[in-house]
Symmetry: C2
Subunit: 544 residues, 2 copies
């Protein structure tokens, strides 16, 4: 079970990785090595798939890999051409490589088109015989979505066939699933329950190999695993890191079974991996971020240090006339605890210059959010200048609660290349802080315990503008993740005025999220490619 | 033929619009009034479709509309529920409303999943009988994509059925197509050729009703039309505006046939419509933009004045120490010609403040693009402050050539709510300027004839960094719109080094485009939802 971390589009590098895993597996006595979905091109390749040369390069690389499969066979995910006259020109496919050749090719049967998935944009779907004989074992092959069909766990079945039922009818001894299944909190527990149930139901053992690594907004957690026909776990690869797990399909005892992270520890590990991979796959060696003395930037800094090392992270304090003393000392203490580089660049000069430049235009107007945003945008300009000059990736530090209601400034605190915690609700940010401090105080407790504030005007507190975060997060979860209606949420016992106000804020701030940097997905529904809302729209639910 | 401009999601407003068109058509003696695809909810509704309440509201509204169909029948596009056990829960549907009731419902047969379309994300596809009898005429009903199947005009057929062939076999007297077909240059000419050929081929008359109006990045041009069975045009509605065209399906002579705009005039009309609708559907009354004295901002300003009126457009000159005198006078002259409001806010104070604030960090470094971006971001901050204070929509002025190669500054000149000409290549910007000046000089000729410059450092010219635009645009068209490979483009006779450099720039600047505001689509492939590239990727075509 070769759980590798491919780079999207980097066929040369992925080929090398696949070959070295085949070599290593063969050396360890493996007879068949299984890779994840589209391992050769990395998942998701998106519109790179529309380049003919890209498809050709991937086919040449597949032949190249076949050449090393002399002692050990391999199942490799790749993009096949669909030769038929009608339909999409490609298949999401897997090749069985034996004796130096591509022996046979199998196709994904179910193409997901929901959340972040757009597979029918690229791939043709063809119901085909997905069985091959290997060393006297009849193996049924499936790719990712093909086995996500259990009506008891998911909602309405989306497809008209059940590949596992077909394989069961065809009489196979074992099922293999090659996946690129993105992480969300609780996903591996969910998979275990789902897969265990499927194995029991069909009385078939299952080998599940998943991709690992971060690709843009998606984090793949790995967690490849195997089950016997009783649905018992018989092997478990690592989470959030590459792994090559050699298993004996006959003997449960001899296999390695890693213990996996759960809950907030898994979120932490996922974010660290997503951040590290985004930076390195984009070619950045260092990152920078603003340190406000608040909890969001503290958690983001700690994640960055964990991902890249303290010497690769530059924290920048950018105090204004409204910054409290504790903000500055807290930020400095945090940087010291993390051992990261720390700069202070006060924004007063540019802040005052902007006020003077706009004074004539604004002379008859009372201060409002405009003056707050100006400060945030001066800070954005500073961080981007440091990025341009020194080649740092700028990390933004906004959480999901703020981004949901638009409590953030475009081109200000939203300026940067990666939104590390933009899918982490505020209450979960606190959990992350506690987790980061599990062994010793890294994030100063004063940062954790002070009331959140943007410090963009005197004595400002988040809760002057927003309901308490515990309440806000619960409403947002229902509205954004669960698609509950206003009426549903009010019926669940939340204050009507608050619910209506929050929902209006979420709807009205779509334009801000349109321009947000990619954010690492950790919940079942993140902003970004998994939530595609029109901006110029005006849906007002009918009053019943 | 009711060519209406619905607002996405605004079921109440769209219902009113549909009812008033039915009323007016009935008054004019029409027996059947046909609306566009999903007219009731506006196209594309995107993830609003995932809200159960939204679907329910749309069904209630459909009943409401049926109630007014007493004298005149109507075909209305709406979202139907799919009652089956498996598959997506919705249909892209059309209802035949007669005698105050929903008499029958028809479904879209072919669901596009390419370019900007994601219909299999939402809709179930079901092959069904799409024929109804109306006043002794057997009518075959199709929805948009259902008739886009001509193998002679498009590439590889994407679908396994041809709805027109099925209808022809079922023996219909006429075909109706209800559409929401986005504008790109040359689209209506293409449609006429395609539809005329289909009518001749199947010996069937066709009535085609399209949506009109701008919805986010998409512009719908209307251009509804009708053909007889010889493929001759027998009626033509207006382009880029609402229209209610009453036609006699038996008599070619008595029908209205509008002359449509072509070429650059159609681009101009499309951009004006897209800009006006984005602003008004988002609730903005006024817009602002930076006037640099260059051609991009001049064309954008002229489009804005055309769309909203001169009193609704605020041009802002933000000269720096590098701005030439002619830039300032040209910008002022442009504003005077257009009759728009004109402000001057020099950026020197904030520019100098930023330099001072960063001087310690930058002290051992030579100036580079960093210093240029700082100025652009000060300007972005000014425009956004004016937007925040006065409620203007900020228009960005970058063209497609710049956006392609990243010759633009995030949070600087890319800051704003709508990118008006971001799908217009630079050479086409010149054509637009000539078109705008077709009757009198609105854009000063000095703006048109000076060499393009960002004026972010002394004596800067675009062509110091980029190849001549005529050449750049041709390479970009091949790479971005036509998906040609590096090798293809070089083989077509372009300089290898230039081609490789341009393609590398396009690929490397995906992160900038990720954060760009929505841009109005006018070419066959725009950046945005029609081009979905991964950011953290590293595809390098194999050297053959």
């Amino acid at each position: 079970m070769a759980q590798i971390n491919p780079t999207v589009g980097d066929i040369a590098r992925n080929t090398g990785l696949i070959k070295s895993n085949i070599h290593q597996a063969g050396e360890s006595g493996a007879q068949l090595v299984v890779f994840g979905e589209l391992a050769l091109v990395g998942y998701p390749p998106k519109d790179l798939l529309l380049k003919k040369q890209f498809i050709k390069d991937n086919l040449i690389a597949l032949q190249d890999i076949a050449g090393v499969c002399t002692d050990c066979a391999a199942l490799v995910g790749f993009v096949a051409r669909h030769q038929g006259d009608t339909g999409k020109a490609l298949y999401n496919a897997a090749a069985l490589l034996i004796d130096g050749q591509v022996k046979s090719v199998y196709y994904k049967q179910l193409l997901p088109t929901y959340d972040v998935f757009d597979e029918s944009r690229y791939f043709h779907r063809e119901i085909s015989q997905q069985v091959f004989e290997f060393q006297d074992t009849r193996i049924g092959l499936t790719i990712c979505e093909d086995i996500w069909q259990a009506t008891e766990l998911t909602s309405r079945p989306l497809y008209d066939i059940k590949p596992l039922a077909l394989l069961s009818r065809a009489g196979v001894d074992m099922v293999i699933n090659m996946s690129a299944s993105p992480f969300v909190m609780g996903k591996h527990e969910f998979r275990r329950e789902l897969f265990g149930g499927l194995c029991r139901n069909y009385q078939l053992p299952l080998i599940y190999v998943n991709q690992v690594g971060g690709n843009d907004d998606l984090i793949f957690d790995g967690c490849s695993c195997a089950f016997n026909r009783q649905g018992e776990l018989i092997a478990q690869a690592r989470d959030f890191t590459e792994d090559l797990l050699i298993i004996d399909t006959d003997s449960r005892e001899s296999n390695r079974c890693e213990v996996l992270k759960t809950g907030i520890a898994s979120i932490h590990a996922g974010l660290v991996l997503g951040l590290r991979d985004y930076a390195t796959k984009c070619g950045f060696k260092t990152v920078t971020l603003g340190l406000s003395g608040g909890i969001d930037s503290a958690v983001t800094a700690a994640l960055a240090v964990e991902a890249l090392g303290a010497d690769k992270v530059v924290g920048v304090s950018m105090p204004s006339r409204y910054s409290s003393d504790h903000s500055k000392t807290d930020a400095q203490q945090l940087a010291r605890n993390l051992g990261m580089q720390y700069l202070t660049i006060p924004i007063e000069k540019a802040h005052r210059a902007m006020e003077e430049m706009l004074s004539e235009q604004f002379k008859d107007r009372t201060p409002d959010v405009t003056e707050e945003n100006i400060q945030a945008r001066v800070r954005g300009n500073i961080l981007m200048a440091l990025s341009n000059k020194f080649g740092h990736l700028v990390l933004t530090t906004g959480n999901k609660s703020e981004l949901s209601v638009g409590y953030c400034t475009m081109y200000g605190d939203m300026a940067g290349g990666l939104a590390v915690i933009s899918d982490v609700p505020k209450m979960m940010v606190y959990e992350l802080a506690e987790y980061i401090n599990r062994e010793k105080e890294i994030i100063p407790s004063s940062i954790i315990h002070k009331p959140p504030s943007a410090e963009l005007k005197p004595d400002q507190k988040d809760e002057d503008s927003l309901p308490p975060y515990a309440q806000l997060d619960e409403i947002l979860k229902r509205y954004v993740e669960q698609e509950q209606s206003t009426a549903d949420i009010i019926a669940a016992g939340f204050d009507e005025k608050t619910v209506r106000r929050i929902i209006q804020l979420v709807d009205r701030n779509e334009y801000k999220r349109k321009q947000a940097p990619p954010g690492l997905k950790v919940t079942s529904r993140a902003f970004g490619s998994g939530r595609r809302m029109p901006i110029a729209q005006n849906y007002q639910p009918r009053k019943s």
